[in-house]
Symmetry: C2
Subunit: 412 residues, 2 copies
C-alpha cells in the first residue's frame, strides 16, 4: 500500500514522521502487509531532509501512479488543493485531508465524487486537530438525534483569551505573545476574526444535521473588541469569555449557526479549556452532553488524526466508509437576527442612574454587574432572553449612553 | 435485519425505545433496508409493555433463528450472559454488549471466538456509558502509541464525592442520598469499593496496550474511608478528591493498573467532572492528552452506545470490525507496590511538632497543609515521589502518630 503526501509543511512533515515512528503499529492496525510513503509533493526544496528522495513537484506523478492508493492533502488553502483532491478522487484514490477551508467550501461535492468513485474522503484532522470528533459524531453518536453542537475550535484565540483572563494582558499584548510563540500568524485575521472557527463549525454542522453549511452564511464575530473590563465583568458574573462556535437545529428544519465571543459559566466543562486547547460539546437526545477535549492544533496531534484516517482508508479499501451530506438550499442557515440569546452589555454614560433606568425600561429586568476600580459612568448588566433583532432595535433607542460591548451568554 | 435483546432491564428497554424512536435515522445509518426487533429475552413478565409480544424466556429461540443477525446482551452479570454470548457468536451472530463484568472477565476469549466465526463482538457501552471511548481509542487514536489512560469511570462514587466536596455531606449522608436518587444500589459495594471502575479500566487497558488485564490483578481501593477532613485538605492543596482508575505502560512491557481515590488539581479537566458524569483521559505520544466527558451511566446514554454498536454491526456484516487483544501471562500487571507516587498523608498525634519532625526525617522534604478548625494534634502533608513499598515501610516506622488517611496525588 503506497501513500503520497501533498504539502510538506508542519502537518505534512508530521504525517511523514508518524508513519515512520509508529510504522509497525500502523501497518498492523491497517490490516495491510505494508504501508509505505512514495511521494511528497511540494514546490519547495528540503536539502538534507530524510525524505528528500521522495519529494516531487509534479502532481501528475501521483495521480497517474496506480500504486498510490491513499493521497494525504496537507497543503491548506483552496487552490490548488481542491483541483488536486478532485483529480485524485476521480482517479480512484482515497483522500485524507486536514484542510478545513477545503472541506467547509467543497465538502459536499468532494464527498459525492468520492462516493461515485467508490473511494473514501476523510477529514478527521480538519476539526479539533487530533481530537477525535468527526468519527465519534458519525459513528458513536449515530443512534442520537443531535440537537446542538458547540465548541472552542480555535486555539490561537483561546490562548489570547486565557492570557487576558489569567495574566491580565490586553488583547494586543496577548496577540503579540501568541505571535511570538508561533500560535498566531503575522496576519492573525483568520484566527482572531473567527473565520477559522467558522469553517470548523460549518463542517460539524454539516455532519450533525446532514446538509452543507457554507461559511459565508454564518454570522462570525471575532475577539478583537474584547477588553479587560469585559473579562472582569465575566468574572463578576461567575464565568469566563471564550470564542464559541455553535450550531443548533431549529424546529422548522433550518439551522442556526454562529461564531462569537461568549460568557461561559465557571462550572461548565468548556470554562476550564485553556491555552491552545480545544473542546467540542455535542448535545444528543439520548446521550445528553458529551465533551471532547484536547490539542486542537499542532504538528503531531494533527498528524495523528491524519494517520488515523489513513489507517481507516487502508482498512476500507473495498467497502468504503459512509460519510456524506446533502447540499443546502438558500436560507437553510437562519438569519442570526432571529436567534434568541441573553446578553451582557457594557456602556459608558454621564448619568449612570438615568442609563440604568433607561436600560431597565428597554429590557425589563436586568442584572447589574460590578467590578473593582470601574471608571465613573461605566455600567454593565445582563439582559433576559431576547432576539438579536430586538436587541439591535432596542440599542438603537439608547442615546444617552454609549454601548461599548455586547457579548452573548451561553447555557453550556 | 433482525435484532434480539437479552435482558429487558434499564439498558435493554432503553435500546428498544431508541430503536423505535430514531428508527428511520438508524436504518439509514445502518445502510440496511430495515432494522427490526424480533425477540426480547427476559424471565420476567411485562404486562402492558409495548413490546410484550416480543418477550420470550427461551434463549434457544434466538440462537436457532437464522434471521437474527445481531444479539444485544444487556443482562449484566457473568452467568448466563457468558454462555448466551458464546453460543450466539458460535452460531454466527454479531453480539453487542453493555456488560463490563463480562468483557473484563471474558473479553479476550469472546473476541477470539468472534474472530473465528467472522462476526463482530462490540462493547462501546461497557465503559463510560454513552461516552464514545472504545471506538475513538481503537480507531481515531490508532496512529498513537498510548502511554497512559486514566478516568473517573464510576458515576455513583463521583456523585458521592461531589456531595462531600460541594455540600459538606459526610460519606454516609452522601451514600444515602445516592441510594435515594437511584444512583447507588442497596448494596453499594460494587461502586463504592471500586470494583465497577476496576472492570472498566481493565477493558480500557486491554484495548490500549493489547493484552487482557484481569480485575483480580488490579489493586483496587474505594472511597469509604474518605472524610470531610481529607476533602478540606485537598481544597487547601488546590484540588479535589476523585476516584481515579488508571493504567500505564511500563518500560519493560508490563502495565501498572490501579483504582484509588486521588487528589486532582483544580485546573485539571478531570477536576470539574461532577455528579454522575464520567471522564476519560488518554495520553498518546502524538496527540498528548485527550479527554472524553459525558454521562457514564443511565438508561438512554448507555442505550445510545449500544445502538451505535448495533448500527456498526449492521454496516460490517461481511467485513467485520477489527478489535482484539491477546491473553496476558502471569505477572503482566505489575505489583502495585512498585508504583511511584506522591502521597497526601493525614495523621493525629499528641505532639504535632515531634510528629512533623519524624515525618520529615522519614520522607525528606514534606509540604504541610492547613485547614480551618483542624482539631489539635492533626497534621497533614504531601510527600515527594516514592514507591508504594517504600511508603508502607516508612509508615511502619511511625509509632507516635496515627496515620488516618493516605491518598495518592495525580499529575493529570
Amino acid at each position: 500500500m503506497y501513500v503520497a503526501i501533498m504539502g510538506y509543511g508542519v502537518v505534512g512533515s508530521g504525517v511523514a514522521t508518524l508513519l515512520k515512528k509508529n510504522h509497525e503499529h500502523i501497518v498492523k492496525k491497517s490490516m495491510q502487509s505494508e504501508m509505505e510513503l512514495k511521494y511528497i509533493l511540494d514546490r519547495r526544496t528540503f536539502p538534507g531532509d530524510p525524505y528528500e528522495h521522495l519529494l516531487i513537484t509534479d502532481f501528475s506523478k501521483i495521480v497517474e501512479d496506480d500504486e498510490v492508493k491513499i493521497v494525504v492533502e496537507t497543503m491548506g488553502g483552496l487552490h490548488p488543493a481542491y483541483e488536486y483532491v478532485l483529480a485524485s478522487l476521480k482517479a480512484g484514490k482515497n483522500v485524507v485531508t486536514s484542510n478545513k477551508e477545503l472541506v467547509a467550501a467543497k465538502g459536499c461535492e468532494l464527498l459525492k465524487v468520492a462516493d461515485e468513485n467508490n473511494v473514501n474522503f476523510l477529514f478527521e484532522a480538519s476539526v479539533g486537530g487530533g481530537i477525535p470528533i468527526i468519527r465519534p459524531i458519525s459513528q458513536c453518536l449515530a443512534a442520537n438525534d443531535i440537537d446542538e453542537i458547540a465548541g472552542i475550535l480555535n486555539g490561537t484565540t483561546n490562548f489570547i483569551l486565557t492570557k487576558m483572563i489569567t495574566d491580565g494582558m490586553t488583547f494586543d499584548e496577548a496577540l503579540l505573545l501568541a505571535q511570538k510563540n508561533g500560535y498566531a500568524e503575522r496576519d492573525p485575521s483568520a484566527d482572531v476574526d473567527g473565520f477559522d472557527a467558522c469553517r470548523k463549525i460549518c463542517i460539524l454542522a454539516a455532519l450533525c444535521f446532514g446538509k452543507h453549511v457554507y461559511p459565508d452564511a454564518v454570522y462570525t464575530e471575532g475577539i478583537r473588541k474584547i477588553t479587560l473590563a469585559d473579562v472582569d465583568y465575566a468574572r463578576a458574573w461567575g464565568g469566563v469569555i471564550k470564542l464559541i462556535a455553535k450550531a443548533k437545529k431549529m424546529e422548522d428544519g433550518r439551522v442556526s449557526v454562529m461564531v462569537s465571543p461568549a460568557f461561559i459559566q465557571n462550572h461548565s466543562q468548556l470554562a476550564s479549556v485553556d491555552d491552545v486547547f480545544n473542546a467540542i460539546l455535542v448535545r444528543g437526545d439520548a446521550i445528553g452532553d458529551v465533551v471532547f477535549y484536547g490539542k486542537g492544533a499542532g504538528k503531531m496531534p494533527t498528524a495523528s488524526a491524519v494517520v488515523a484516517d489513513v489507517i481507516d482508508c487502508a482498512r476500507h479499501m473495498e467497502r468504503k466508509k459512509f460519510f456524506g451530506w446533502q447540499d443546502s438550499e438558500e436560507g437553510y442557515v437562519a438569519d442570526y437576527l432571529e436567534t434568541e440569546n441573553t446578553f451582557y452589555i457594557r456602556a459608558t454614560t454621564d448619568d449612570a442612574a438615568a442609563a440604568v433606568a433607561k436600560f431597565t425600561g428597554l429590557f425589563g429586568e436586568i442584572s447589574l454587574l460590578a467590578r473593582q476600580d470601574a471608571p465613573e459612568g461605566e455600567i454593565a448588566f445582563v439582559t433576559g432572553s431576547l432576539s438579536e433583532k430586538d436587541l439591535a432595535e432596542k440599542l438603537e433607542l439608547v442615546k444617552d449612553a454609549k454601548v461599548e460591548s455586547v457579548i452573548r451568554i451561553t447555557n453550556y
